[in-house]
Symmetry: D2
Subunit: 240 residues, 4 copies
């Protein structure tokens, strides 16, 4: 299983408060958590926006079974041609894990078809993440709920299509709720959106968050590695 963690890597180099939490960048922290939990099951690499082809060349994507995406302030800089390429790979079977502010990334909006708007508040408040899908592979080892002591609030209404499966629901001390873990299937690919994870809080060091991400990578790993046929003309009697 080959995993690529993509990060825009902007906050970490610009904002000392973020660099203090994630000195190697958020993508490296996420990758480290996956390496520790997946061990020999997966090869985990990282890629960033400032690399050639924005880190997502044909070769990288061709060698990626599951792509993890973190972006925030640089969504607009991601080239449309890269978004086309990632979409095509997802429809052909590549797994995609979209994190937190990635709700507004071009690739997530492209795959959802909706605005992906939501409410938000930066107040470091408590978030309680409720497990509403016991028995699902993504909640393996997760109890009834877990807590993030300080979190950015993401709240409803979240403008997404009805998820294929609702996995987590979050409660916020300030009065909001959020569908914080959702699965979607598009083409032959599996997508998991998971909202905890702002740059200002050490959320990716949280053991339950790390466990969810490792579970999600396993769940999203593809069975297909090439796209199903396009739109074939099926001549009369083709099946005889």
């Amino acid at each position: 299983m080959r995993v690529t963690v993509w990060g825009e890597n902007v906050h970490e180099r610009r904002d000392p408060s973020v660099a203090a939490i994630y000195p190697e960048g958020m993508h490296e922290a996420i990758a480290a958590g996956l390496r520790e939990r997946l061990g020999g099951e997966a090869e985990v690499r990282t890629a960033t926006l400032d690399e050639p082809e924005q880190g997502l060349g044909e070769e990288v994507l061709g060698a990626t079974d599951v792509l993890v995406w973190w972006g925030h302030v640089a969504h607009g800089e991601v080239a449309d041609a890269i978004v086309d390429r990632v979409q095509e790979r997802v429809l052909a079977g590549m797994g995609l894990i979209v994190l937190h502010s990635g709700h507004f990334s071009k690739i997530f909006r492209r795959l959802m078809g909706t605005s992906c708007t939501l409410r938000w508040r930066e107040a470091g408040e408590k978030e309680r993440v409720w497990n509403v899908a016991p028995g699902h592979p993504i909640t393996d080892g997760i109890g009834e709920h877990f807590e993030i002591p300080h979190s950015e609030m993401y709240g409803e209404r979240f403008d997404i299509p009805e998820p294929d499966k609702l996995i987590f629901l979050s409660w916020f001390a300030g009065g909001d709720v959020f569908r914080s873990g959702c699965t979607f299937e598009r083409g032959a690919g599996r997508i998991f959106y998971f909202s905890p994870g702002d740059q200002e809080y050490p959320v990716y060091h949280h053991p339950d968050v790390q466990r969810v991400l490792a579970n999600a990578v396993r769940w999203a790993a593809p069975r297909l590695r090439e796209a199903p046929a396009g739109s074939p003309n099926s001549p009369v009697g083709w099946w005889k």
Copy 2:
């Protein structure tokens, strides 16, 4: 209820076989069927690709509750700015009925997020349309199934997200099946895809097809007429 039937209006002016079936254009035939069945419930107008702003200016869309879409050979000519505008209106609540080859229109692919590919065959074969949602408003007055004596085959696998509700399943004499009637909700808008309706067959004169379309327009009519809020920052204590 204000309905706009949009047609690309290319085949009808170019192909004598199509003009013979639809002398006023397919859009006019579809509109006539809706007018007859909806009567005073709806004002039905038409719009075509060759009109200013491709028939879909702000004023037209602002006065449209349900948009019906038929396109085929000219999908690529529809301007991206028009697609943006239609998408925005759908998310704000406008109903959208996408017909037949509209599966490959920019607006449908945009809203689905998938390739919308399918199998096809032009052999004038029999299509039997099975009603799998008795009790749904779109099947009101439709029996267990109806038949289209000569139809273009559209077959699986159809690359769409899992529909919110499967309404019709089609059987084709040549050995294929198709999810021929599907509903989707996106933002505050309702979308119905209905596959019968090739330009080479008089499908839009079929009474059951006309009934389905009239039902679909009623079902897709909006409850909201302005978009819900975007992504508001919700300050601490906003709700006290």
Copy 3:
């Protein structure tokens, strides 16, 4: 549109605190709210457990388009034959609105196939009900959220099948969340589960709750009034 509000009518006659809020019984308060809001659109009657055939004889059900259900301490007293009858009517198209503690009624568990367990707490805490389906008929006229100042807490995990459509999500001051408004379609019938409404709080006098219930009755009203065919043997050549 003929609506029957069924109430077990036990708390109201036994508990002075409940009788103080609902002197005519909860079913009468619910019915009064529907009558006021639906006006001439609907005939609203009530039925209770202590009536002949537990209020749900063939004649009553045969003249009911939408059944509203409130029960709590007497679920076990509802006869299985009555549950069979109600289930059969729902599958044939009758709408069903299940309220609050009705989550544990025989009819709801029968239709869901799951345990319908949930967490609960009787602490009179604040419930904020978030509208996650703007544009849906059931949320017509409802804003982004509304509040119930004192409510019994119903919390996740709620053991139901994935709803066809999630309508409301509730936040509770004590730290819980709940899928408080959910739609399901079973057979030709439409089901809406709505959790606010404990006997100890005047929830059915709340204007937004009343509006939701009136909307839900309209949404659940049937298009079919007789069951689709059972399991017919379809002989060879039946369709020629």
Copy 4:
């Protein structure tokens, strides 16, 4: 992974035509196919209606991760207490594969909440099974479609809740279509209904059918082995 294949084992002992195809019983043929394909991954045992506790005592179910169910003429003989027990196990996480005429079994109807009626015809006609979920674990190794030369027709409308995921759609030579492979999640358990498999045809010797069943067992295997909590009262301040 511990698999139990349950068969009612009536046709095989009564009807020479069935015994000729399945001399050891259908359950043994299904089990043999699973053993061959799952190899060391699974222990596969069988159980039948004529055994003590109808083959499904506490001990057997407690040692079963996935239960495969084939029944037809003896649905009514299965004791309600056994059905309660199986349902409870499914909600606690046990996988359940329901085959063919099992659509009318007590356990399937219990879990669906609907009538599970369908159309049918015994004419030995051709069935083509279309794969509409490429990329799903259950279709691993299955192409665009496969054929069963002689099959009993099961056709729409099939009265089930909207499946969580539609996996296969069948085409029948006689003019019918069917949702022949459907997944459902109930409680913590996963359910797969697969319609091919009448007692009069050697369907369970078909290599693609065997592959689908082996894939389905893998997919349905539980992550949980004990039920989540019931309906706990959550006292004020429980989470501090």
